[in-house]
Point group: C2
């Protein structure tokens, strides 16, 4: 047995889908039909389908049928550039400006504010002592009713003591947190560092994003620094990898990507 039967079946179906014989969003034959077609047991058919689910090619709906996964047009976000990296805008403001320019419908939940004690990683990244309280603000963002990102931002509690009281209010800060911090307590961000990783979603994330198969998420940790190089905030943003891409530009003459696939989410 060179190749297991379930894998042969999976490859066969995969070929059909990629050849376009099975259109996106269209049904696959039912398990019973596939059973007859490949002369295999239902469990073997199901193993084949499972392997297709794993690579995100199909999705099943109980009571209905199995569908070829519709290709999602990924949103491309430019993460470099003065507007974000140096903190003139928050990461959310970036999308809000995109909405205006592109006419997309955008939903941002009110922040869920919490105070927790910083431990290990977080304490180091925010430059506070371990066990010190930090503020966390979590928001979820949807674009055209598709869940798009989950963002948690951490700030030292010290900022509130100094007068930035709105940080602990569960309301969106219209002018943007960076502008608010500057005006309220004179803290400005002028450099940043992004740490990018990919991993499997946890339960919450899978539920919010509706990740069926085994779609990974990006986790981007953006640390903002003031002029002296001290960390002033840490934003942890989680994006589903099937609908998001990122661009970083570098150098004196950043080329504008033209002709290429539509680069939405870019701010000018």
């Amino acid at each position: 047995m060179a190749e297991p039967l379930y894998r042969q079946i999976a490859d066969s179906l995969r070929a059909e889908i990629e050849a376009g014989q099975l259109a996106p969003d269209a049904q696959l034959p039912t398990e019973t039909e596939l059973q007859q077609r490949f002369s295999a047991s239902r469990n073997t058919i199901r193993d084949a389908i499972k392997s297709l689910i794993m690579i995100g090619l199909v999705e099943t709906r109980p009571g209905q049928e199995t569908f070829v996964a519709g290709r999602i047009e990924p949103l491309t976000t430019v993460l470099s550039g003065r507007s974000t990296g140096t903190g003139e805008m928050s990461e959310l403001d970036m999308y809000i400006s995109m909405k205006e320019s592109k006419g997309r419908h955008l939903d941002v939940t009110d922040p869920q504010v919490g105070i927790q004690r910083a431990r290990d990683e977080l304490a180091i990244q925010l430059g506070v002592a371990k066990g010190q309280p930090v503020i966390s603000r979590q928001q979820r963002l949807s674009i055209d009713d598709i869940p798009w990102s989950m963002q948690t931002t951490f700030y030292p509690m010290e900022f509130v003591n100094k007068g930035a009281l709105r940080l602990i209010e569960e309301a969106h800060i219209e002018e943007g947190v960076p502008a608010y911090l500057r005006d309220a307590i004179g803290v400005t961000q002028n450099s940043s560092r992004d740490l990018i990783m990919a991993r499997a979603p946890d339960r919450d994330e899978a539920a919010f994003f509706g990740l069926s198969g085994q779609v990974p998420v990006f986790e981007i940790q953006r640390t903002g620094f003031d002029g002296k190089g001290n960390p002033i905030r840490l934003a942890v943003i989680v994006y589903p990898a099937d609908r998001n891409r990122f661009i970083y530009e570098e150098g004196p003459n950043p080329a504008t990507p033209d002709g290429q696939q539509p680069l939405e989410g870019e701010i000018k």
Copy 2:
């Protein structure tokens, strides 16, 4: 039945692993033992284990047993900075310099050179007409005998016509391709754009990297531009997401990450 049995078992095992009761690289009980312990059939136990494989928590070895996946210490690579973004170094040189500074053992295969006709995406990215020939150079990189990245770089055929003949030789270019292009034909890269995405590995990639479960890969497309903003090369680099992270720094005063997790791969 609130929660399916196989999921309860998976959660139970997952809790044990994360609590450290089952050490990394140590065996899980055999399927037969788990069968007795949870009073479930072998197929159900296997379904539970499959779901753990999917999230990369365990790996099975036929004839042996099931192992808790050893935590891989991820390598963090700084992708911003003049040294890489403006093309003073190639992406591979970056790692070579890392090797020297950190004393790691590093293997780079000789490039596999090909000539193909550019179509669609590639033609646009390289700024050549569709159907024009382009050079591709593919190399694979391992660190301490662990497969680490696959890199394919594309150049316009025009460069060879102008005299950069070593581009089509299947030999490593010691001084680095950017330096060679500058000296040979006066082409210099002074800006770049990185497009970052994550996806499931294809067959080749899964085989080379030895990806067992459902570990995604990063695909980074780095386009290099000359002083006039014309694309001069496209590097497509694939990294397994379980052992790689990336950093981009921005702003006038890039903070050096200290105290944090070891930031290897950084060049100074």
